[in-house]
Amino acid sequence: MALYDIFNISGSALTAQSTRLNVTASNLANAETVSGSPETAYRARQPVFAAELQAARGGLQAPGGQGGGGVQLRGIVESDAPVQPLYQPEHPEADADGYVYRSNVNTVEEMVNMISASRSYQNNVEVMTTSRDLLLQTLQLGQ
């Protein structure tokens, strides 16, 4: 039943999107943190999505063995954007020159990310609800 596969497919998408939401929450929470050196400053993280292998193989897959073209979470990468030095000699973390280093989180970008992730999450929940209804109707076939 192809409809059963939808639960796996949309489920993987839900996992991916909630990870994205999680990472965004972590980024937003650390947007204002400062650190004593550029190396230890917080860097924005982003999840990397990839389509699961079977989807890419397309028509070559064996009949009947049509499985999920779900979303795979490849990993989480850190942003390479430069961290911003702030001159704050009175700060306890300041280095010898009186600078602290602010995280490179772009708050606007993260807000957009958050909205996009929650919309995608909603879409997939809706897909799952619809397929569940269809399956329940199918079970009543012939009654």
Binding site: A2, A51, G58, V127
Partner: protein, 132 residues
């Protein structure tokens, strides 16, 4: 005379399977709306249905068990086609979410229609078999 259930049920059973497969593909598209380089796919329902009705041109003959099955040879697994996007995004993703959602809704309604049709075929069969 034997009763062939396949014949009695007509094309609604094939249609149901195809709608199911199409719904799955559209769900895949929606799930991968944010995946870079994902290419949206869909079924040509008309062509698949024609194939299911046995009008798909010449079929390949498999003379050995080791031969690969030609793609799209069975009713439940026709070859999906890649969509031509109107506005491809920069990351290579060709899912257009609004359209996919519309198609998903359309596909589920079609599924329900086939389901209801199949259900009424069953009711008709049961009525015909029942001794009054």
């Amino acid at each position: 005379m034997t009763l062939s259930l396949d014949k009695a049920l007509g094309p609604a059973a094939d249609a149901l399977q195809l709608h199911e497969r199409r719904t799955q593909l559209l769900a895949e598209n929606i799930a991968n709306a944010d995946t870079p380089n994902y290419k949206a796919r869909d079924l040509d329902f008309r062509a698949a249905m024609r194939q299911a009705a046995g009008d798909g041109g010449l079929a390949l003959n498999r003379t050995s068990a080791g031969h690969l099955t030609p793609p799209g040879s069975s009713v439940g697994n026709p070859t999906p086609q890649y969509r031509v996007p109107a506005n491809p995004s920069l990351d290579g993703n060709t899912v257009e979410l609004d359209q996919e959602r519309g198609r998903f809704a359309e596909s589920t309604v079609n599924y329900q229609a086939s389901l209801q049709f199949l259900g009424s075929r069953f009711t008709g069969l049961i009525n015909a078999l029942r001794r009054e």
